[in-house]
Structures are given as structure tokens and as C-alpha cells.
């Protein structure tokens, strides 16, 4: 890149430059210059920061070209010039028919993929009529108890055409099984289905805490499902290894990067241990990252993620298929960065975060609505969020060229820094005997609580500014945003519907399917096949999860995971 003669000259020029710059350093516009994650940023980046790339071999091992190892510059040769990212807005609320209506609306407005949000009882494997579901049905997503609900959600939607993402983890197998069963009834073979299942249980223990079973049987559910999908649902992304929630729970960008990749490597090791060939399943793994407010740090995070992953897949796990080396990812803008104060400002935050995801080479994107610190998004707010992506795609010109920030002294140096910091965390996890041990010892949970508290302390001491929260505050602010409310009647309606479906189904078939699931759970065999048969027989998510709870037990956090910091 740069000759040593040039770099020597630059050093001399910088020494002179520095004398003049010193005069301006007497004053500072901010007390400290650091990323949202606390990484200190230098005043100036120059070719000296990327000096090592002058070495030919180093350049090809670390940066290279888009669509080629190590994919730092992107997973496709031509990126958005061939195909824009998928604009995938997460939606789901109330009853299945309300969600079906919202899905039709999203597709009509130019959304190009569906993404389903489930309510908490569904996420926790309880039916709507379970006592613990009281007050939660349909609140933060759609309620799904049986196949009948899934039939309604996807009514009038061509499952061979649309790609569907489902945000579900502990009961992920049950929901995918129901999706396959809906497709079967529509006459669509499972080979044609495209979509993504979140199915990332490790980050549940670490961050989002929607776990049901202990880690080891949970991993079995996942590897069984992967095995089934490799054979029968080959276009399905079986796990979306998620940093999003880890970030939302308080992680820094570096922690998000490192913990997420560590989780990914854990799944890979588990599948290899279960006897699967890395090149058979790895091409269907995908990732899900957060886009927070520190613009360049986020871009560097995505670039570093691709590079770290490619290196490990090739060198450590011996993957030979280049498709196994690719880290493809979905991005969602940071919910935790949104403010309830002057919520319209959230549109601006979201736009900038979305831009970082695009410049970082995301494959799909969800932009948050401005009102999400108040409630689920209203239709208007959700529409503005989608329009934000369309403005970036069609008006800003950022999609005209591939990885436009490559070669920036700052961006390359920060990408290197992210990788270096992540490697330190991998080392620490290894010293603590791996991801599962770290979860059980509460290591991740304590680290996140520490970071979250440090962030809050910075806000309260005004070391960090959030517009409208600790600076430019408006007193007596009246909200003018309509808030979406889920009618309380939703719960009753859903409870009655599920009772009716349970009463009307073929009991013999349902009982037989559930008995088989219990037998498999207790012993050998593929749990996913048993779950698929239960789903076809209209067994509910709660019934299936209860069987597994009885056989495998329930997980609860250890005292060390509950420590505050």
C-alpha cells in the first residue's frame, strides 16, 4: 500500500503538523473522545495506522476483495448493486388474524420479507390458557398455541415466494414444525421454504432470559432440528446467532461481537460432536447483530465479524466449502438507544444506525419505529421506519459501490482493534472452560450487568450525552404520538379458540404423537420429527413443552448469574 520511504516522510510531516495542532488542543468540544462502547478514539488516523497492510500477504489474509476470503469487504462480489438488502420489518401482535392483517400491509408497502414476533407465553412454551399467561397474551407479539393459529397468520401468503423469519428460541422447533405443517396443507414442499429461525438458546441464557430447558437438552433440540433441515428444508437458515439481545442487555460493541461469535462456535462444535459434517450445516447458519449509535464502531464490528468467522471456519473447523466461511447477517437498529423523551428524534437515530448496517454490509435489516419505548409500533410509526430504509437504498447513493469505507485509515484500524479485543475475550472464555461453563457460572451475565451500569453512570454524570434525556431536555413535554394498545378481549378470544381446537382435534392422533415425543425425549431419536408429527396433530406449544419439561427439567438462573455487577 505505502512505501517505507513514503511512511518516513509522513512521520516527519506529522511531527510538524503536531506542533500546530497542539495550539488547538487547549480547548475541547467534549471531555473525552470515545465510542459508545468506551473504546478511546485517536485524534487522527493516517497510513501509519494501517502500515501493516503494505505487506502483500497480510493484505490478502485480512482484507482482500468482496465475495472472497476473508470477506472483510462483504459476502458478495457485487453486494447491493445486484440485490439490495432485504427490508425485513419485525411484526406481530394480538391475535393471529391481526398479525395476518399487518403482514399483508407490510408486503403491500414494499417490505420484502416477513418477520414474526411471538408473545411471551409462546416464547416461554405456555399456552394462552395457562395461569402464567394471564395478562401477557398477544402483548408483545402474536399468540400461537396450535397449528390452527399458524394457518391464520399465513393465510393468503404464498410461502413458496416469501421468506419468513421467526423470532423464537426455546420452542423454536415447535414453531418451525408448525410452519412446515402449514406449507404441507397448502401443498408446498418443505424444500421450497425460505426463512430464518432465531433458535439461539445460548444468548437466552446470557441475555434475553427466555429459556425453558437446561442448556444441554436445549442444544440437542437444536442439533436435531439442524439435522432434519439439512435433509428436508435445505433453504432454511436454522439458527440466527444473535448479538442483538446481548447488546440490548448492556454489552459493549466488543462484547456483542465476541460473545455472539463464541456462541456460534459453540453450536458448530456441538454439531460436529453430534457427528454432522461442518460443510453440510454451516452454510445455513446466519447471524443477527445490533446497530447502535456509534457509527464507525458498528461498521468496524460487522467487518471484523466477517473476518474472524472466515478465519476460524477455515483454519480451526476445517470447513472446505467457501459457503461455510461466510458470515451472513441480519441487523436491527438498537431498541435500547431509543428515548421516550422527544420520541420523534428516534427517527433520526434509527436512520443513522441503519446506515451503519448498510455500510457494514448487512443482508437484511429491521429499522425500529420511533414509538417503541412507549408500546408496540403504531402503523404510521412502522411505515416511517420502513421508509427510512427505502430512503437509504434509493436516495443516498451508498448502495452504488461495494464496501465504500474500505481503506479508510480509521475504519481499517478500528476493524483491526475490534478483532484484537474480541480475541482477548475468546481467550478469557477458553480459560473459563468454554461458553456453557461461562453461562452456568454467570460470567456473561455479570459482565453485561457491569457494562449496563457503567453506561447508566456515564449518562447520569453527563459524561455521555443523549439528546432530550440529559441535554436539550424539554420540560412539560406532551406526547403527540398515538400509542398502540392491545385490547384485553384478545386474551379471552385466544383462550377460547385454543380450547375449541383442542376439543375438536383427532385425539387419538394427538395422544399418539405426544407419546412418541416423550419416548424420543427420554431416549434416542430425532426430536424434530416427533415434534413435527405433534404439530400436524394440532398438539399445542404448551403441551409439547410440558412433555419436555417433565423429561428434561426446567432451567433457572444461578445466584452468580443474578449478581448485579
Amino acid at each position: 500500500m505505502f512505501s517505507s520511504k513514503f511512511l518516513d516522510k509522513l512521520k516527519g510531516r506529522l511531527a510538524d503538523w503536531n506542533k500546530t495542532a497542539e495550539k488547538f488542543r487547549q480547548k475541547k468540544s467534549m471531555p473525552r473522545f470515545f465510542t459508545v462502547s468506551g473504546v478511546d478514539i485517536d485524534e487522527l488516523y493516517t497510513p501509519l495506522n494501517i502500515e501493516k497492510y503494505a505487506d502483500d500477504e497480510h493484505y490478502w489474509n485480512e482484507i482482500g476483495l468482496p465475495g472472497e476470503y476473508p470477506y472483510t469487504r462483504g459476502v458478495h462480489h457485487t453486494m447491493y448493486r445486484t440485490r439490495l438488502w432485504t427490508m425485513r420489518q419485525f411484526a406481530g401482535m394480538g391475535t393471529p388474524s391481526q398479525t395476518n392483517e399487518r403482514f399483508h400491509y407490510i408486503l403491500k408497502q414494499g417490505g420484502t420479507g416477513l418477520s414474526t414476533a411471538f408473545d411471551l407465553p409462546t416464547l416461554m412454551g405456555y399456552d394462552s390458557d395457562h395461569p402464567r399467561s394471564l395478562g401477557e397474551v398477544g402483548k408483545c407479539g402474536v399468540a400461537v398455541d396450535t397449528l390452527a393459529d399458524m394457518e391464520i397468520i399465513f393465510d393468503g401468503i404464498d410461502l413458496a415466494e416469501v421468506s419468513t423469519s421467526m423470532t423464537i428460541n426455546s420452542p423454536a422447533s415447535m414453531l418451525l414444525a408448525m410452519y412446515i405443517a402449514v406449507a404441507e396443507k397448502k401443498g408446498i414442499p418443505s424444500e421450497k421454504l425460505r426463512g430464518t429461525l432465531q433458535n439461539d438458546i445460548l444468548k437466552e441464557y446470557i441475555a434475553q432470559k427466555e429459556f425453558i430447558f437446561p442448556p444441554r437438552p436445549s442444544i440437542r433440540l437444536i442439533t436435531d432440528m439442524m439435522e432434519y433441515c439439512t435433509k428436508k428444508v435445505p433453504q432454511w437458515n436454522t439458527i440466527s446467532i444473535s448479538g442483538y439481545h446481548i447488546r440490548e442487555a448492556g454489552a459493549t460493541a466488543v462484547q456483542e461481537l465476541a460473545y455472539t461469535l463464541a456462541d456460534g462456535f459453540q453450536y458448530i462444535e456441538s454439531a460436529i460432536e453430534a457427528g454432522q459434517d461442518v460443510d453440510e450445516f454451516a452454510p445455513r447458519l446466519s447471524f443477527f447483530f445490533n446497530a447502535h449509535s456509534d457509527f464507525f464502531e458498528e461498521i468496524a464490528k460487522y467487518r471484523a465479524a466477517r473476518r474472524i468467522y472466515a478465519k476460524r471456519m477455515k483454519n480451526k473447523y476445517g470447513a472446505k466449502n467457501p459457503k461455510s466461511w461466510l458470515l451472513r447477517f441480519h441487523t436491527q437498529t438498537a431498541g435500547c438507544s431509543l428515548t421516550a423523551q422527544q420520541p420523534e428524534n428516534n427517527i433520526t437515530r434509527t436512520a443513522i444506525q441503519a446506515l451503519s448496517a448498510v455500510l457494514g454490509g448487512t443482508q437484511s435489516l429491521h429499522t425500529n419505529a420511533m414509538d417503541e419505548t412507549l408500546a408496540l409500533p403504531s402503523e404510521k410509526a412502522a411505515l416511517i421506519a420502513l421508509r427510512t430504509q427505502q430512503v437509504i437504498a434509493y436516495e443516498t447513493g451508498v448502495a452504488n459501490t461495494v464496501d465504500p469505507l474500505a481503506g479508510s485509515y480509521f475504519v481499517e484500524a478500528l476493524t483491526d482493534k475490534m478483532e484484537e479485543e474480541a480475541e482477548k475475550i475468546f481467550q478469557e472464555i477458553e480459560e473459563r472452560d468454554g461458553v456453557l461453563e461461562c453461562i452456568e457460572q454467570g460470567y456473561f451475565q455479570r459482565e453485561l450487568a457491569k457494562s449496563a451500569y457503567a453506561h447508566q453512570t456515564e449518562l447520569e454524570t453527563n459524561e455521555r450525552v443523549i439528546v432530550g434525556v440529559n441535554k436539550y431536555v424539554m420540560d412539560g413535554e406532551e406526547l403527540e404520538i398515538p400509542v398502540l394498545r392491545i385490547d384485553r378481549a384478545v386474551e379471552q378470544e385466544q383462550v377460547e379458540f385454543t380450547k375449541k381446537i383442542r376439543a375438536e382435534r383427532d385425539q387419538g392422533r394427538a395422544e399418539q404423537a405426544m407419546a412418541r415425543l416423550r419416548e424420543v425425549a427420554r431416549g434416542e431419536g430425532n426430536t424434530f420429527e416427533a415434534i413435527l408429527e405433534c404439530s400436524r396433530a394440532y398438539c399445542s406449544v404448551g403441551e409439547m413443552c410440558d412433555i419436555l419439561r417433565e423429561e428434561w427439567g426446567e432451567y433457572s438462573e444461578s445466584a452468580s448469574a443474578m449478581q448485579v455487577s
Binding site: 411471551l120 407465553p121 416464547l123 416461554m124 405456555y126 402464567r132 399467561s133 394471564l134 395478562g135 401477557e136 402483548k139 408483545c140 437466552e204 434475553q208 432470559k209 427466555e210 429459556f211 440490548e248 442487555a249 448492556g250 435500547c336 428515548t339 421516550a340 423523551q341 419505548t373 412507549l374 408500546a375 408496540l376 453485561l448 450487568a449 449496563a452 451500569y453 447508566q456 449518562l459 447520569e460 434525556v469 440529559n470 406526547l479 400509542v483 394498545r485 392491545i486 433457572s556 438462573e557 443474578m562 448485579v564 455487577s565
Partner: protein, 139 residues
Amino acid sequence: MDKKIRVLLAKPGLDGHDRGIKVIAAAFRDAGFEVIYTGLRQTPQMIVQAAIEEDVDAIGVSILSGAHMTLFPAILDEMKAKNAGDIILFGGGIIPDDDKEELEKLGVAKVFTPGAPTEQAIEFLKKTIADKKSDEKIM
């Protein structure tokens, strides 16, 4: 010297988002309170029972799932049933203004919403508990 303020912090319902409650727990601890954090998925019965056993001045709950209009009243009912109405119940979460007003009418001492500094909650508890103690002395 006054007795330290004792607070029970809990996550009711199915919601697992515990970032907020852990931040509050750390802030209370640094403010000199004694904090007992119950962890996730506590039923109203479990919360009130723990509050009585731990002899706390206040119960703080965090609800981000939208189930606040069910869970807060259930905790208040349980407090009444167990004669624990003297304990201060407060909370926070994704709670629209109208609901916040209604909950405060029902007997929740204070509902904090996103963006509220931890200092606000600390001052609120100190003042409410001090006022209550001086009332008790008069009586």
C-alpha cells in the same frame, strides 16, 4: 443512626429483560440501600411472601412486556390479602402515561418510565420512607 432502607426488587410475569432492574439494584446498593433481588418470573405470591420474610420497606418491580395492568394490581391484591399494605410498591418499564396514572390511582406509589435517572428513584424512596416514618411517630 437510621436503619438502612431495605428494598426487594423483582421481575414478575414472563418477561426476561433484566437490564433495567439490575442497573437499579446496583444504583440502590451504591446509594447505601440493602437490596434483595429475587430474579425472574416471580408470581405476585412469591414477591409478597419474600417481601414479608425480608421485612422490606419497599418492593420495586420491572415490567417491560406490556402486562403491567394485570401484574401490578395482582401484587397490590396479594399485599392486601397478606396485610402487607404498609410496604411501598413502585415500579418501572414500558408503561404508557395513561396506564401510569391509573396504576398510581390504584395504589402503586410511583411508576418510572424510560429515561428516568436512577437518582430519581433513590430520592423518591428516601423521601417516601422518611415521610412514612415521621407519620408513624406522630401517630
